[in-house]
Amino acid sequence: MRQVLFAAFVLLAAASSALAMSTSDCFDCHSDDTLTKVVRGSEISLFVDEGIYGQSIHGDLDCTDCHEDVADVEDEHEEELKPVHCSNCHDDAAEEMEAADHPADCSDCHGKHDILPRSDSRSSVYDLKVPGTCGTCHSGQETPDVIAQYESGMHGMVLLRSGMIFSAVCNDCHGSHDIRGASDPASMVARANINSTCAACHQGVVEKYKKSIHGEIFADSPEDAPVCTSCHSAHDTERAMDDTFLLTVVNRCSSCHEEMGYTFSKNYHGQVTGMGYTRAAQCPDCHGAHDILPTDDPASMAHPDNLVATCGKCHPGANRNFTLYMPHADYHDGQNYPMLYYVYLAMVILLTGTFAFFGIHTLLWLIRASIEKSRNRSGGAH
């Protein structure tokens, strides 16, 4: 059916502009792969591969459908052609491009005479090719190098190493045509929108998050709550069970919970975590991750009533007594931990006293013994 319609269309077009340039006229010149012109001092090829063009999604169109200014030319056209208007057909995409601030032309991402549908694995916007296509501008020229970060991140690894095309590629988070900077409130990656953007795939996680204290705060004022990317890096996203995540998650939590991060680092779990030992507990092990709740909430993992189960995950056999350990204690803080403070103080006095006494004792002994030795030596000479 489509072919019949197309044949009719071609016949009509041929009849209505018998004098105008036909596609075969164009290829009279442009199938010559040595045809070039000089633009601003550099030579560019004017060759169009008829085979590739024919197989492209636009292969059934005439050249003049896009290069409109050539349509009425009888013989040779102007050297400088006007830009083509993809918007003549693709008006939705063009409108989005217009409204957004992505300074790229259609052809930068989609190509020119070789455009293929994005479902075609040869297309420059096929899922597996997107990072490379975006990388033609965004790779190696920005700090940080987001493409390199993406490639080493979880999404990139799943896509490029495991070859799973359902992994997120650039446009899944940033949009295709309405690409906007994160500071633009309408951007898919704006702080207020990032959770919904991630939810397109990670729906279950975002549902949990919404019920957490972080989600509750987000509902009231998005600026004050952590969003997905506050804890999970945007481009070099780690798996939450990987060492690289577990060893840095404390820093991420501490960027808001500074005091808790400090006291954690001063206690056993934090000390060994700081030394690269991930088997010890980090923040999420006791407080939860997406479902995190304040400690005084009875549903919180860290609520006193739930601690036997929470501690028991790593310490089988932990009882109620066990949970009275204070993982965030600070023995320098006499106000909140008077007993620890006095134990510490007693140890300081013991250490200072011992070292002061024996320090002086040793010094005096050294002097006296040296005097005696030199006296004996000179005495022995007599």
Binding site: V272, G274, M275, L350, L351, T362, W365, I367
Partner: protein, 295 residues
């Protein structure tokens, strides 16, 4: 008795004609073996434990990395901790055996006398007398079998192993100990374990090393804890009261021994200098970390 008399005669004989030096046994194999266990376990504990105490310094990270990570260091820390408990128990058994079987004087007389490690009035007098001698205000006190600083060393280790050992055991098996004590005692245990360890390391690597080995009379090393032997001259000079008492009692000759062999002296130096080196490195590390913490 006949044998001792013979030796007594020998002694005066050699003294008169100035023959080769005489040597006496101060520490038997058991003492030396336990001290070797102390050296090995103590250095091991300090090197595997201090990185955790100073976990935020680069030094600690490097040291732990050298040992294969803090997890591996923690494993070896427990091994050395077990050795510590081993020598502590072996010593208690020996002490009990001594009190019950070997003791040859009444209990109280032994307890407060020169053959026990218990500090008594003589030790207080010796501290004052020794310090006065440092200041050039009197004669050097005459010491007996155990000097006051040796008793302090002994009791400090005894107390230290008790405190560090018990708190360490609590932190090793917290689930078990939580059946007996509330969890906040682990917070207390950590402070005690950590600061008592700092005291022990700081004391052994400076004060003990100086008092026992590095002071001018002994420099560079007193090999007696390795070879077990002390020369007659040193015996008379360092422990005149013990020497005289044993001479009067006629028991001195029972301690007479062969001179230390060249090999044993070499080994004493090798072990001693390795311990000095490790101690010095750790002291510098502790000072560096403490200064960094102040900033």
């Amino acid at each position: 008795m006949i044998r001792e008399d013979k030796h007594m005669t020998d002694y005066s004989h050699t003294e008169n004609i100035g023959q080769e030096e005489r040597w006496y046994l101060r520490f038997n194999y058991y003492h030396r073996f336990l001290h070797a266990l102390v050296i090995i376990s103590f250095l091991g504990l300090v090197f595997t434990g201090m990185p955790l105490k100073y976990s935020q310094t680069g030094w600690a990270q490097t040291l732990a990395g050298f040992m294969g990570g803090i997890g591996t260091a923690g494993y070896w820390h427990r091994v050395f901790g077990a050795i510590t408990w081993l020598y502590f128990i072996l010593h208690l058994l020996f002490a009990a055996y001594y009190v019950v079987k070997l003791r040859d004087e009444p209990l109280l007389k032994w307890f407060l006398g020169p053959n026990s490690m218990v500090p008594w009035i003589k030790d207080l007098e010796d501290v004052i007398g020794h310090v006065l001698w440092f200041l050039g205000m009197g004669e050097r006190p005459k010491f007996d079998r155990f000097t006051y600083w040796e008793k302090f060393d002994y009791l400090a280790v005894f107390w230290g192993v008790g405190i560090i050992g018990f708190s360490g055991l609590m932190l090793w098996f917290p689930e078990f100990f939580a059946r007996l004590v509330p969890g906040w005692t682990f917070n207390v245990a950590i402070i005690l374990h950590s600061d008592e360890a700092l005291l022990a390391a700081g004391f052994i690597f400076t004060i003990h090393f100086f008092n026992t080995h590095l002071r001018p009379e002994k420099f560079p090393l007193d090999h007696v804890i390795f070879t077990g032997r002390i020369s007659e001259e040193e015996f008379q000079h360092e422990r005149p009261l013990e020497y005289e008492r044993m001479r009067e009692l006629g028991t001195l000759s029972s301690l007479e021994s062969t001179p230390p062999t060249k090999t044993s002296l070499l080994w004493a130096r090798i072990v001693g200098f390795i311990a000095y080196g490790m101690g010095l490195i750790m002291i510098l590390f502790i000072i560096y970390s403490a200064l960094k913490e102040l900033h």
